[in-house]
């Protein structure tokens, strides 16, 4: 049985997750990441954490899995500072759903 969760990204960010029983897949470039995501999705992994650096480079792949409930591909910050990719996505979703960003307008 495949592991239920996986983490993809730079080795620094990802290896720690292997201590928690996640399937840690250190990757360096977007192409490998896409391939790994594809493999994991086929194997039935439910949650895939992707570091922001990688997630930024593979919007199409993220889009492809957006319509189905699993796998959930979630960007996570790596290293010291979050790039705010996750919040940006959330903001986009809000804009898509409501037509205008009325929730986070003040902060953004």
């Amino acid at each position: 049985m495949p592991k239920q969760m996986a983490a993809i990204g730079g080795a620094d960010a990802v290896l720690g997750f292997s201590a928690l029983g996640l399937d840690a897949r250190p990757v360096d470039d977007a192409q490998t990441a896409e391939q790994v995501i594809f493999e994991l999705a086929r194997a039935g992994t439910a949650i895939i954490f992707v570091t922001e650096e990688i997630a930024e480079q593979i919007p199409q792949t993220l889009q492809r899995y957006a319509a189905q409930p699993y796998p959930a591909i979630i960007p996570i910050p790596s290293g010291l500072q979050s790039k705010g990719l996750g919040l940006k996505q959330l903001k986009q979703n809000v804009e898509k759903a409501l037509g205008a960003d009325i929730l986070f307008g003040k902060e953004g």
Partner: protein
């Protein structure tokens, strides 16, 4: 607006269109209600999602930078050895939850086993930063899972809201006006036919009456 293109001005077509209008109006009302309710739920979810994400990001960055430090201090081999056995074994159960006919994931943590003491390795060959990092990550894991669930649900719901809104607008601004225009055209055409028939009849009657009068006059002479 030109209505639904080429339509036959018949009574049958008219009653068909009227039925379609009723269906369209009912569908429009239902979809509008669905959209409103989805937006209400979405707003709640999005707020929660935002709070979760901010919380997770703040703590995760901390844990990962600690981990980076540990990696810098320890050799790769020692690191690999230390992380070979997972510190926690997490069992999750997955299902889907139906929120306004959108199937969003619903993930619950069934069990988190705690390998005794929290870390699966001896303390002799590892750096203390690693202990801290793993501790924080382990604490964070349930929240990460909740974040994954919330984020996915939010994005799926947003897609669905957009679709529903398009449908509502298409019905309201295209479909229903077109049907109404067609109904108007047919009614006008039908009453025009009716009138022309009426006039024709009256005219014929007049002509017949005039002929009869002429014949009567001729006989009288």
């Amino acid at each position: 607006m030109a209505g639904l293109g080429n339509i036959k001005p018949t009574r049958m077509e008219l009653s068909r269109l009227k039925k379609r209008r009723v269906t369209a109006v009912r569908g429009h009302k239902l979809l509008k209600d669905k959209r409103d309710e989805m937006i209400r739920r979405f707003v709640v979810m999005a707020r929660e999602n935002k709070a979760l994400r901010e919380q997770v990001e703040a703590r995760l960055s901390g844990a990962l930078s600690e981990f980076m430090l540990a990696r810098a201090v320890m050799s790769d081999a020692a690191m690999e050895q230390a992380l070979m056995v997972p510190a926690r074994e997490v069992t999750l159960s997955f299902s889907t939850q139906n929120v306004m006919s959108v199937n969003v994931p619903s993930i619950s943590v069934e069990s988190i086993s705690n390998v005794d003491g929290g870390v699966p390795y001896g303390f002799a060959f590892t750096s203390p930063e690693l202990d801290g990092a793993i501790e924080t990550l382990a604490e964070l894991l349930p929240e990460l899972i909740r974040l994954a669930e919330a984020e996915k649900a939010c994005s799926m719901l947003a897609d669905e809201i957009e679709k529903t809104r398009r449908r509502v607008n298409a019905l309201e601004y295209v479909m229903i006006p077109q049907i109404e225009e067609s109904i108007r055209i047919i009614t006008m055409k039908l009453s025009e036919n009716e009138r022309s028939n009426q006039t024709r009849l009256m005219k014929t009657k007049d002509m017949l009456a005039a002929r009869d009068a002429a014949m009567m006059a001729a006989q009288a002479k």
